[in-house]
Amino acid sequence: MDEARISRRGLSPRLWLAGGWLLIALLAAIFAPLIAPQDPLAQDLMLERLPPFWLDGAEPGYWLGTDSLGRDLLSRLIFGGRIAFIVAFAAATSACLIGSALGLIAGYFGGWADRIISRIVDVWMAFPPVLFAILLVAVLGTGLSSVIIAIAVIDWTRFCRVIRAEAMSQARMDYVESARIAGYGRIGIMLREVLPNVLPSVVALLSLEMGIAVIVEAILSFVNLSISTDDPTWGGIIAEGRLSIHQAWWVLVFPLITLILTVLSFSQFGEGLKARFDPVLR
C-alpha cells in the first residue's frame, strides 16, 4: 500500500513534465501556420545568420535568429515538428502493430511459429539499425512514407521480443487455463485474455519507440535522406547547424535542445505510464 502510494506520488511530476512538453510541441506542430512568426521557407540574404533575440544585432520577429540563408529558425523548428510527430506516431504505431502481433503469436502459440519468428528476429538484430535504415530509405526512395516504412521494418523486433516473453509467461497462468476450460478458442483467449495483460508493456514501449523514431528521422534527414530537402526537418536544421557551427552556433543549439527534450519526454512518459498501469505497482 505504502509503496504504491509513494511510487504514484513520485512518478507524477515526470509524467506531467514530459506530457506537458509533448503537448506543447504537438500543438505547435499542428497549428504551425498560425503560430510560426515567419514563413519557414522564406530566404532573405539581408537577414542571414541573425543571432537570437537577446544578442546584439537581432531583428524583432526572428526570436531564435536565422540560418545562413536568412530563414527564421523558430518557424523552421515549429514546422519541422510536423514531420517529427507524423513520423513518431505513424512509424511507432506500425512497428508496434507488426511486432506485437508476431510477438503474441510466437509467445502464446510457441512451437514452430515461435521458432520461425525468433529466427527472423535474430537475423534482424544482426543488422546495425542506423545503417539498415539508411539503406532502406535509399532503396525505397526519399520521402515521408519511406522513412515511416523503414523505421517500422527495422524496429518491430523491439516489440516482438518483449511481447513474446510476456505472452509466454501469461500463457502459463491459471486464468488462461480457466478460459480454455470455459470453452474459449485459442485465438479468442489470446485476444481476450492475454492481450489486455501485455498492454501496459506495449504502451510503455510505444512511447519509447516514438522517441526513437524522432531520432531516426533526424539522423536520416541529417544525412540528407529523409523527405525532400525543401521542407524543414529537425535533422536537416541540425545538418545546416553542424556546417555553420563556428559562425552561427544557434542553428545547432536550438534544434538540439528541442530533440533532447522531445526524446527525454517520450521515454519518461512511457516509463511513467508503465508504472501507472502496472498491476503489480498499482
Partner: protein
C-alpha cells in the same frame, strides 16, 4: 550462428536488388552505347538471373571475393579491411570509456547508498540513458569543439602529420612505436566520438553494477571484511567487485553490439574515416557490392561478439566452469 549470417546475406541481397536506379548507367558517361552498357553489366554479373547472382555472390564470398566497389573501383574486401581497424579502435576506446565511467559511478553510488549522491547518480544515469549517441555527439561537438575547443571534432588524425604506419591500427601502432605524439593526436580526435558512443552504455553499466554491488555488500563475507578494518571503498574494490561484475558483463556484451551499430552515424558526425562513414557514402553512391560487404562485416562482428560473450560468461561463472 551461420544460419543468422546466411539470413543476413539473403535480406541484404533482396533489399538491394529492389533498389531503383541503375548503378551501371551512373558509371558511364552520357551517350554510352548499348554495347558498352551490356559489357559492363556482364562484367559485374548483373545480366544473370537474381538467384544465379545470389549464389555467385555467396560462393565468391566464401572464397574471400566480395566483389568490386562500383564507386571506388577497388576490391571490396580490401576497402573494408582498410577501414575496419579505425572503427574497431574507436569502438574499443568507447567501450573502455563506458566501463570506466559506469564502474566509477556504480562504485560511488554503492558506497554512498541511501544518500543524495546515490539519488543524483540514479537521475543522471536515467537521463543519460534516454539520450542516444547521435545527440550526445552533437552536445560534445558544441561543448568541446566550439565552446571550449580542446578536442578535435573532425577526422581521425591531423592531416599535416607524417604517418609512419604500416597497419591501419593507428592507435595501437603509435603506442608500439613509442610515438606518443601521434597517440595523443589520435586520442584528441577519437575521444569525443568515443565518449558520445560510451555515455548511454556507461549509464546502463552504472545502474546494473550498482544494483549488484548493493546486493553483494549485504553478504556475510563482506561484513567480515569490514570487521577486519577495510574501508568501504577497499571492501568494494577488493572483495565485492569481482563477484558483482558477472551480470553486468553479460549485458555489456549485448550492449557492445549496439555501440558498434552506433559508430555508423557517430563516425559521420565527426567525419571519422571508419567503416560506418564509408557505408553511408556507399549507400548515397548506390555502390551495391560495397554496401553488401560492409553490412555483412558488421553482422559478422555482432555474431562474433555474442559468441565471445557466451564463452567469457562460461569461463567466469564458477557454476558453469565446474559443471
Amino acid at each position: 550462428m551461420f544460419v543468422t549470417l546466411f539470413g543476413v546475406a539473403i535480406v541484404v541481397f533482396v533489399v538491394i536488388r529492389v533498389a531503383p536506379g541503375d548503378p551501371i548507367a551512373m558509371m558511364l558517361p552520357p551517350g554510352a552505347s548499348d554495347d558498352d552498357i551490356a559489357r559492363l553489366r556482364a562484367l559485374y554479373g548483373l545480366d544473370k538471373s537474381i538467384v544465379q547472382q545470389f549464389f555467385i555472390w555467396l560462393g565468391g564470398m566464401l572464397h574471400g571475393d566480395f566483389g568490386t566497389s562500383i564507386s571506388l573501383r577497388q576490391d571490396v574486401l580490401g576497402l573494408v579491411f582498410n577501414r575496419l581497424p579505425a572503427t574497431l579502435e574507436l569502438a574499443t576506446v568507447a567501450l573502455l570509456v563506458a566501463i570506466a565511467m559506469g564502474a566509477a559511478a556504480a562504485i560511488l553510488g554503492a558506497r554512498s547508498r541511501g544518500t543524495a549522491v546515490e539519488a543524483g547518480i540514479d537521475i543522471a544515469s536515467g537521463a543519460t540513458l534516454s539520450i542516444p549517441d547521435f545527440l550526445w555527439g552533437l552536445v560534445l561537438i558544441l561543448l568541446f569543439g566550439v565552446l571550449v575547443p580542446v578536442f578535435d571534432i573532425s577526422g581521425r588524425v591531423s592531416p599535416q602529420l607524417d604517418l609512419p604506419f604500416v597497419t591501419q591500427f593507428y592507435l595501437a601502432e603509435s603506442m608500439l612505436r613509442l610515438r606518443f605524439d601521434l597517440t595523443w593526436d589520435l586520442i584528441k580526435h577519437m575521444l569525443m566520438p568515443a565518449v558520445a558512443l560510451a555515455l548511454p552504455l556507461a549509464a546502463i553499466i552504472a545502474q546494473l553494477l550498482k544494483q549488484s554491488l548493493k546486493e553483494v555488500l549485504d553478504l556475510d563475507y563482506v561484513v567480515l571484511a569490514r570487521v577486519k578494518g577495510f574501508s568501504e571503498t577497499q571492501v568494494i574494490l577488493r572483495e565485492v567487485l569481482k563477484n558483482a561484475a558477472l551480470p553486468t558483463l553479460t549485458l555489456v556484451g549485448v550492449q557492445f553490439t549496439f555501440l558498434i551499430g552506433g559508430t555508423v552515424i557517430v563516425e559521420r558526425l565527426f567525419s571519422y574515416e571508419g567503416l560506418g562513414n564509408m557505408a553511408i557514402d556507399a549507400v548515397i553512391n548506390r555502390d551495391l557490392p560495397l554496401i553488401q560487404g560492409i553490412v555483412l562485416v558488421f553482422a559478422l562482428l555482432f555474431v562474433l561478439i555474442n559468441l565471445a560473450v557466451d564463452m567469457m560468461y562460461a569461463l567466469l561463472n564458477p557454476r558453469l566452469r565446474h559443471g
